[in-house]
Every structure is written in structure tokens, then in C-alpha cells.
Amino acid sequence: MPVYTLEVEQVVQGIKNREFSAEEYISQLFERIEKVERKLNAFVTLNKKGGLERARRLDKKIRDGEQSGPLAGIALSIKDNICTKGMKTTCASKMLESFVPAYDATVIKRLMAAGAIIIGKANLDEFAMGSTTEFSRHGPTRNPWDISRVSGGSSGGSAASVAALECAASLGSDTGGSVRCPASFCSVVGLKPTYGLVSRFGLVSYANSLEQIGPIGRTVSDVVSILNVIVGFDENDHTTTNSSKLTYSLRERNGLRVGLIREFTEGADPRVIKIIYKAADTLEKQGCKCEEVSLPSVQYALASYYTIATAEASSNLARYDNIRYGFDMNPEGYEWNSYFARARSNFGDEAKRRIIVGSYVLSSGYYGKYYLKAHQARSLLKHEMETLFKKYDVLIGPTMPILPFKLGEKIDDPLKMYLVDIDTVVANLTAMPAISVPAGFADGLPVGLQIMADQFAEQTMLDVAYLFEQAAKVQRSPEL
């Protein structure tokens, strides 16, 4: 079995015990990437030279008997909206076509300190706005299970690269489901942490109050390995929680109380519903108590999400005026307002749509009607969720209400596209953690089980995810 198929912990041990070298591992991965990448388009930038150099240095360290970190040698892809010093960070946008960050995001610093190797930057929807990775300047990322279908988004490149064995794990960002959606569509594990658990410093903002960086891996164990390295307080992010060092583990537990959210299954594709009910049965068999529960205010979730997200986005994206960084454009002959307008016409359609909607909901006279209302709905939803978590350890449902669809199928219908986020936005609006775990296949296409928990109850959520994973044994990587 090639080494690139191994789990994170196996790779770390293998390199440490010199069963294989980091250089062999990384070289094998790049051979794999060369083989499958043209089918998928999961990467925006590859870091072959830098990755191999780092691997060689690690090998030398190990030969010299030096200590290696908890992720020593692990190959990661990083969503291209997370800043990597000296490595282009484009957000899949013309607006950042040639932007090379002068600093590393906090999560990157922590991963590097743990010995990880960044082998490339993963594709995404422009500025993480989308659910298919079709809104990328670099073209769509295809689903490894069926390359005529979308990989999900916006962290499509991250999930596809993990599923296709192009890397061990990845970092995505999740503003309204952007880690969990592609994880579900690509049959891998994707985790969105509690808001404030992981530093956002260095994550190019789309909607600050909603988003978190989250790991994507082929197993719950892999996701935990990454999570343990990136979590915790960061002096560069005021919204990180000031707690002592958190560590998560894989535990065998039973007797957990599970609520299946009725509203999540009601509107879903019957093929998806079937698999989710089966997943609930599996949990029952493992000693969980499952019940159907209701979350009525979920009806306001999408409207609330798109109001808040676009409002914040319209302001966050204002800085891209091509004055300080961006792309090549001669300013000669422009008065500055016309230069702004001309430069900013280079945003893609979806980004433009959200900037316009966001500017509208914030404009004077409409603030109370939309933005404040959205926040009221958000509070209501949070309150309902908190009430449910008094009775249940976790809440489950499908991650996505539908199966991965064909490329181009929804790209011209924004409203249809937004509707697929209905089950994922709840976790972002309520600041609560959620994970998507592979639940099975319908017509050969992956379905993800979403498990949600109360704020900072990641361990309980992971307990259920691990329990399910061990019992369900769902296939992780497709033939390519």
C-alpha cells in the first residue's frame, strides 16, 4: 500500500521510526498529484520544491535524533484564503492574483511548528463565496467520486485533495458550511469549530462573525490530530476564547442522547433521508438514544445568514481596490473614483452579487429592516438550539440536503444555490461546532452525516462522530 494512503498518525510514526523518509512520502504524493490533479483541479498553487526541501530537513533532523513535532512530515493542502508567508494567496480572485502575504496566519505558524509540510494551496469559490467551487478564477474543482459533478464548496479544493489522496489532510474555512459541504460531497470528515476556538488571524475575511477555520481529513482521528495543533487563544485575534490549552481525544462512549432535527430531513432528497435514518439506526445500535426533535426557527436561518454574511462581506471586500496589492493595471489617466470602479469590476459575479446585496442591507433606512432583524433571528435560533442542548448531547441531520450535483447545474440560479446551505448555516449563526462524517452512498454519490454540539462541546461531538465512524465503516477514497 502506498504511503500516501496512510492516516496522519501512521505517517508521523512511519517517518519518526524511519520506516520511510519524509522525502519518499512527499515525492510519492507529488507523483499522485501529477496523476490525478488534471482530473480534479484541486490545487491553485503547488509547493513541490519547498515541500521537498522541508521534508529533507525533517529527515536530517530525525537521523540526528532530534525531537519532531506531532505532525512531523504530514502533507497538508491549505485553502487559498489562508495567508501563507511567501506563498501566493489568491482567494481564487483576480483581485488577489499576485498577492503574496508578508506573514503567516496563526494556524499556519502552529502547523509549521508541529512539523507539517504545506504542499500547496487549495481551490475555492472566490473569497469563499459559494457551495460548489465553481466560482473560482482557476476553474471548478471536480468531485473525485464523479468528475462530472461539483466537489462542494467553498473549500472544494481542500476536500477533493484529501479524498483523492493528494495530501493527508487540509485546512478549510467554514462561514456557512464551506468545510462541511465539500466534506460531505467528497466523503471525508470536515469540522467547523465553535466560534472563537481557532484563530482567524490570517484568514482572509468573508464574514467575520460567522467563520472559522476547520480541518478536513479522511478520518475523525486525522481531523483531531490537526485540530489539536490549531486550537486555542491567539493574542492576534480578540475573538478567540481565552482558555487553557485544549486537547481532544478519541473515546469510546455510549448512552449519548441524540436529537435528529426534523426540519433538516423534511426538505431533503429522499435518497439522502434514507441514509440519514440508517445512520441514526447505527447510532442506536451503538447505545445512543435517538429521538426526532424540532427546530422551528430554522425557517429564518438562510435569510438571516445571507443578510449578515453579505453585509459583512460588502465591507470586508471594500479594501480590494488594486491600489496597494492586486493585479497589474495601469492607473494612468484615471481619476481615483473611476480607477476604483474599473479595478473592482474584476470581481467575479457571485462576489459582486454579495457586495451589492450587503451594501443594500446596510444602507441607511434599511439597517433595522434587514441587518437588525437578521440578528434577532440569529438570537432566536441560538436560544432554541441552547434549549435543545439541555436535553441532547448532540443534534444530527444531513450535512447537505441533496447529493452532489452536476457542474453548471445551479450556477445561474443563485437562490437555488443558496438553498443547499440550509442545514449548515445553523452552526455558524449559533457559533456552535459541527462536523460532517461520511454516512454512505446513494447512487454511488457520497452523503454526509452532520453532528452538531453545544458551544465548546467539541469532545462530545467527536465522541459521537468516532462512534459512528467505527460502526459505519464508510469508504473514504475513490478509484481515480
Binding site: I82, C83, T89, C91, L96, F99, P101, A102, Y103, A105, R200, F201, G202, L203, V204, S205, A207, N208, S209, E235, N236, D237, H238, T239, A311, E312, S314, S315, A318, R319, D321, I323, R324, Y325, P331, W336, N337, F340, S359, L362, S363, S364, Y367, Y371, L372
Partner: protein, 480 residues
């Protein structure tokens, strides 16, 4: 009689805070090579997050207390969205009260200039933008503009008054008081170019409000207001309606003029900054500020009166300018003769101050080679009857330019009081012989005695003690 209403917006840089409002860069940007005093945060690079400088909140709270404003329970920051090349993020982080009071201070009142007062509407913390530098010095004649972000992010406190001023000269008095207060608080070095700026709004007879911007010095505020009031009155007298607009103060021509670009009614689309959580002030914080607040001008004035026995008028002049009050107290450290020293400073030293140079160099004693040690020395010479007052004045007028110590100059001039009565009597005798007509007049009109005294002083080259000489003259007038 027309009713004039003037309101002010004063911006004061918190130069005492040392670092910028949302990053660790120095707040001292002056004299640095362009774009060297910046970091990823204040340059607004993608992925960066603002970090609130705690010190600036303390400073703003001190100003809030000093201006008699109330604190809200918690403060928040808002994004003010607009495009301008000097804004790295194309929004300014500021404070806003339309959706609930969350700026650091509101509803204050400040007494100034003997019993007048003005209400303070609001005090807020915000970031300074960068600076635009025009190649040819002006916007109209430059083909391009250069941007220096060294200033971007420097902490500002904005003080907004109600339109409580009717007279430009009262505005000047108010501004002097504000200056003295922030100097006493140690939050702002007002001597630095551009560290305090003022915009004003003016309306007459309940008409439309006109904003005047770009007033670079406090001295010009008074001029700009006088010009604008005259302009509006002239228009009113010709029955032309004054338009509601923003006008710019043309420093060179000393007129207000229409803005070159029409500033239409801007919609700033304010919304709360998601990356900075609300800051709870709390009673502990407020009492900490109360304890740490330095002596304010009004308290200092009372202390000057009670501790040093100064008159209200003299004390007022001294505390009107912190530099002057500090000069006074530094002098007392050397030689404790409060009344004498206060008189020397207020009535004599002040007359040597060059207003133009003072404005240019932002220093009261600009161009004068004098320090507390000089005034202390001078006062001692007078107190000990070593020289008379007239001689002392003469000495002062020389040393302000040379910087020589008064006692040294007195020695060099060999001036000690003419205490030999016969020498003085001789001088009086010769004046009586030379000025026989005046002597006759003096017998009828006592005031003419002063003329004779002047003559005596002249022929003794000011060395005579005028008190004794006058006594002698009066005695002689009665004798003959």
C-alpha cells in the same frame, strides 16, 4: 442682530498612547520615510484583524471625565464605509451612537472663559487615515497623488460639541481650554503639527448648516468662522439662500471655498465591527481612571490661588496654557516667590512672545532664550532690592534674546541701585534746572511730576530707584 450658531468637531491624536489604535506600530509617524511606519494590520492587508490598544481606551476615558461626559456601560466600534485612497481598508473604524450609545462619552458640558459653557454631544475613539501627498502641493495642479500610510491607524479622539457658540472669539477661548485640558492629561502633545484639528459648522438665523473643513490651526478657526459668518450674512442680506454644504478653508487666501468635488449625501453604511468584541467599562475601570487622571486646569487654578495666593486673573492666565503653568511651577522650584514670579511671567515675559513664531513652532517660548532659572534669578534680584523694577525689566528685555543670567548681566552693567542720596539729589537738581517750565506746571498739576521722574530716570540711565526719586521730586516741588 442675527443669531449665529457654531458647532465644533475637534480631532485630537492620542500621541501619548505610543502605539496605533489597532496594531503595535508607533503612533509617532512624523519625519519617517513614507510607508515605513506600517505593518500588515494598519496597512489593511488581507487576513489581518484589529487589536484594540487598551491605553487609548484609558486616555479617551480621561478626556471623557475631564469634559464632564457620561460613560455608557460598554463601548463598541463601528465601520464607517467609504472609498478614499488614504483608507487602507476603505472603511474607518470609529464609534457610532445611532443604534444605542456605545461611544466612550456623551452629554457633557465644559465651562470656559469666565462663566461661559458649551455642551459636548459626544466623544469617540477612531483611527486616523493615511496622508495624501500631492506632487505639486495641491490637488488641482497635480497629475498624480502619493499615499503615505505612516499615519494610518494613529488613535484619534473626536470631540463633538452642540452648536453652542455664537462668537468666533468664544470658539477660540473654548479651543484654548480644550488644548490646555488635553495637555494636562498628557494624552496629546498639541505642539506637534496636526495633532489637534478642528472642523466647524456654522448657520445663521436658523438657516442651513455649512461645514468648514481643512482648518489646519486653531488660530485659523476664528478667521475661518469670521469669514464664513460674513459670507452667510452677505448672502442673507441679498436674500440668497445659504446652501447646506461642506466648504474647505483655503489657508493661503484665508477664505472658505466650495469643495472641488461635490460631496453628495454619503451613506456610510455603519455596522458594528465584528472583530472587536464590546468592551465593558465597569465601575472598577472608571474608578481606576478617576484615580489616575492628572490635575486638570480648573483644579490647578484653584490650587494656584490657594497655595500661592495668586489672583483669579493671574492664575487663569497661567493655567490657560500648560507650558506657561509648568514654566511657573518650575521657576518656583528654584526660587519660591510665587506672586513676584507670576507677575514677571504674566505681565512681562508674555509681552515678548512672538505669536507668529509660536504658531509656527507650536511652542509658547519659541525664539526666546529663556528658562525658569532666568525668571527665578530675576525675581530674586528684585526681592533682595539688588535692582529696581525698571532695571529688571530692562535686563529681561535683553536676556530673552541673549539667554544670559540676570545676575550676570546686572553685574556686568555695574548696575546696582543708586542708594547714594546725594547722587540722586544731584540728578533731581539738574532736572529741575533744565525743565523749569515743567516744574512750574508740576506745581499746579501733580501728574507732571511723572514727566520729571522720567527725566531723572533718563539721566541716571535707569539706575535710580523710581520710588525714592519720585518722593524726592515731590518734596522738592513743595520746598521751592
Amino acid at each position: 442682530m442675527t443669531t449665529t450658531k457654531i458647532g465644533l468637531e475637534i480631532h485630537c491624536q492620542l500621541t501619548g498612547a505610543k502605539s496605533k489604535l489597532f496594531c503595535r506600530c508607533s503612533s509617532d509617524y512624523r519625519g519617517k520615510a513614507p510607508n515605513t511606519n506600517i505593518c500588515p494590520i494598519c496597512a489593511g492587508l488581507p487576513g489581518t484583524l484589529p487589536l484594540l490598544n487598551q491605553k487609548t481606551v484609558e486616555f479617551a476615558a480621561m478626556i471623557t471625565l475631564a469634559l464632564g461626559c457620561k460613560f455608557p456601560d460598554e463601548i463598541a466600534f463601528y465601520r464607517k464605509n467609504y472609498f478614499y485612497p488614504d483608507l487602507p481598508k476603505n472603511f474607518q473604524l470609529t464609534q457610532y451612537n445611532a443604534y444605542g450609545i456605545t461611544s466612550i462619552g456623551v452629554d457633557g458640558k465644559l465651562e470656559y472663559g469666565n462663566g461661559k459653557d458649551a455642551r459636548i454631544r459626544r466623544i469617540q475613539l477612531e483611527e486616523d487615515p493615511g496622508r495624501l501627498v500631492y506632487a505639486s502641493g495641491s490637488m488641482d495642479s497635480s497629475a498624480y497623488v502619493l499615499i503615505d500610510y505612516n499615519r494610518a491607524g494613529v488613535p484619534l479622539v473626536e470631540i463633538v460639541t452642540e452648536p453652542d457658540f455664537a462668537e468666533p472669539k468664544n470658539v477660540r477661548m473654548f479651543l484654548d481650554k480644550i488644548t490646555s485640558i488635553i495637555e494636562h492629561l498628557g494624552v496629546c502633545d498639541t505642539k506637534l503639527e496636526g495633532s489637534v484639528r478642528c472642523d466647524a459648522n456654522v448657520s445663521i438665523e436658523g438657516g442651513n448648516k455649512v461645514e468648514i473643513k481643512n482648518i489646519s490651526s486653531f488660530a485659523d478657526v476664528e478667521k475661518a468662522l469670521r469669514y464664513e459668518i460674513t459670507r452667510q450674512r452677505t448672502m442673507a442680506s441679498r436674500e440668497i439662500q445659504v446652501r447646506s454644504e461642506t466648504r474647505h478653508w483655503d489657508d493661503a487666501r484665508k477664505v472658505t471655498k466650495e469643495s472641488r468635488t461635490k460631496e453628495e449625501e454619503q451613506d456610510y453604511r455603519y455596522f458594528p465591527e465584528p472583530d472587536i468584541p464590546m468592551v465593558m467599562l465597569g465601575s472598577e475601570f472608571i474608578s481606576f481612571i478617576k484615580q489616575s487622571i492628572p490635575e486638570l486646569p480648573d483644579t490647578r487654578k484653584e490650587r494656584f490661588m490657594s497655595q500661592y495666593g495668586l489672583s483669579a486673573h493671574i492664575a487663569q492666565v497661567l493655567i490657560g496654557n500648560k507650558e506657561l503653568a509648568d514654566f511657573f511651577e518650575s521657576t518656583l522650584m528654584i526660587y519660591l516667590s510665587p506672586k513676584e514670579i507670576a507677575n514677571w511671567i504674566v505681565t512681562d515675559l508674555m509681552s515678548f512672545i512672538d505669536e507668529r513664531q509660536r504658531e509656527e513652532e507650536h511652542s509658547l517660548f519659541a525664539g526666546l532664550k529663556i528658562g525658569p532659572e532666568h525668571i527665578a534669578d530675576l525675581a530674586r534680584l528684585v526681592d533682595q532690592d539688588m535692582i529696581n523694577r525698571a532695571t529688571a525689566k530692562q535686563i529681561l528685555s535683553q536676556i530673552v534674546r541673549t539667554g544670559e543670567m540676570p545676575s550676570a548681566l546686572a553685574k556686568r552693567m555695574h548696575v546696582s541701585r543708586i542708594d547714594d542720596a546725594s547722587v540722586l539729589a544731584q540728578a533731581v537738581q539738574s532736572v529741575f534746572q533744565m525743565e523749569q517750565v515743567a516744574v512750574q506746571d508740576a506745581r499746579r498739576n501733580a501728574n507732571v511730576a511723572n514727566f520729571l521722574l522720567g527725566k531723572v530716570m533718563k539721566i541716571t540711565k535707569g539706575k535710580a530707584d523710581p520710588k525714592i526719586a519720585l518722593e524726592m521730586i515731590q518734596k522738592k516741588l513743595k520746598e521751592d
